[in-house]
């Protein structure tokens, strides 16, 4: 069973982010307020790679393509790590609640 409380998901997202960022992420401070684009300097293909890894970890219930499709272009640009964590926690708890 994968823990889906906020601290556990935050730690996991940070770990996956470091992996996606590779050398660039080595000494990058990541906080819930970090924006993917400006603070972490992620290009969109990096976010796709992140989405793929998140789906592999949490299953189809965590759908970043769906999440970003619900946001307008400016909101995607300003997307923060904390928002992603909230989305995962929400998605996973919703999935658990299904019969």
């Amino acid at each position: 069973m994968i823990p889906v409380d906020t601290p556990s998901v935050t730690a996991e997202v940070n770990r996956i982010l470091q992996a996606v960022l590779g050398d660039f992420g080595a000494d990058m401070p990541i906080s819930p307020d970090s924006t993917f684009r400006d603070d972490l300097g992620m290009e969109s293909i990096d976010v796709v790679a992140l989405a793929g890894r998140l789906q592999a970890r949490y299953g189809a219930g965590v759908n970043l393509a769906q999440f970003v499709a619900s946001l307008d272009v400016d909101s995607v640009r300003e997307l923060r790590v904390g928002q992603l964590v909230d989305h995962i926690v929400l998605s996973m708890n919703r999935a658990d609640g299904r019969p």
Binding site: F24, D38, L40, G41, M42, E43, S44, I45, D46, V47, V48, A49, A51, G52, R53, A60, N63, A65, Q66, V68, A69, V73, V76
Partner: protein, 259 residues
């Protein structure tokens, strides 16, 4: 990350599947040349298509995004061979291509007209000699732009370290592979093969992009093509106006002319 090995290289693919749809039809999304990747489709059309009940297959073309970058093998046929291998054994697909991705879609349909249910071309053209002459000239413009060290510094100031890295990556693609030589020298499908594409086609253009000048020739080759021109838009139509593109594609898919 999902990679599939075809034609001796590893390609990065992502597949999104609608829930509760038995045997969903497949849409393949192909991106543009050099500075592009599957991301431009992933964040604009991928999920809206899943919501419409399609299985969505995204691909980073060879040399691009997170796919492998061989030193050789960048003629049009090489890109089509990859798609061919990836789609082997699948039912008919609809292919949507942005810029050069649209050209690969038309070239695949020229090779396998029976395997394509429809084509959406965003700021693109079928592989004609005139279009390839333009691609060649765009490639040398890009090569000249990224060859200037100051250009990369400027990108870095504007888009940060990773942004500069992407620009540098496009520069490397041009410097370290045969793309600049092989792509312009590509063997192109015979005109009759392009004219034999009978599936429904939707072509989207921005009226501030030169690509719209290719529209009359596309219409001559493919009289069934529906054309939409967006006022005030440039070559980056897909990422600048995703909502308009989404609406146009959704209307076309629901229109019924499309299988």
């Amino acid at each position: 990350m999902t990679t599939v090995r075809v034609n001796d290289i590893d390609l990065h693919v992502q597949e999104l599947t609608p829930t509760g749809v038995a045997d969903p039809p497949t849409v393949v999304l192909l991106h543009g040349l050099a500075t592009d990747s599957m991301a431009s489709w992933y964040f604009t059309m991928a999920y809206p298509l899943v919501e419409l009940g399609y299985r969505v297959l995204l691909l980073d073309l060879r040399g691009h995004g997170r796919s492998q970058r061989p030193a050789l093998g960048y003629a049009l046929d090489d890109f089509v061979d990859d798609l061919d291998a990836l789609l082997a054994g699948r039912e008919k697909v609809t292919i949507m291509g942005n810029s050069f991705g649209g050209t690969v879609a038309f070239a695949y349909a020229a090779r396998h007209p029976e395997k394509v249910a429809g084509i959406v071309s965003v700021e693109s053209s079928p592989p004609t000699p005139v279009w390839f002459a333009r691609l060649t000239s765009r490639l040398s413009d890009l090569a000249n732009a990224v060859a200037r060290p100051r250009a990369l510094v400027a990108v870095g100031a504007r888009r940060g370290a990773r942004g500069a890295q992407r620009a540098q990556d496009a520069a490397r693609l041009l410097a370290e592979t045969s793309l600049r030589e092989e792509l312009p020298a590509s063997r192109l499908p015979a005109r009759a093969r392009l004219e034999a594409i009978t599936c429904p086609v939707l072509c989207l253009y921005g009226d501030r992009s030169h690509v719209v000048e290719m529209a009359p020739e596309t219409q001559r080759l493919l009289p069934q093509a529906a054309l939409r021109v967006f006022a005030g838009q440039k070559h980056s139509l897909l990422i600048d106006q995703p909502e308009d593109v989404r609406a146009a594609i959704t209307t076309w898919l629901r229109g019924g002319s499309h299988a």
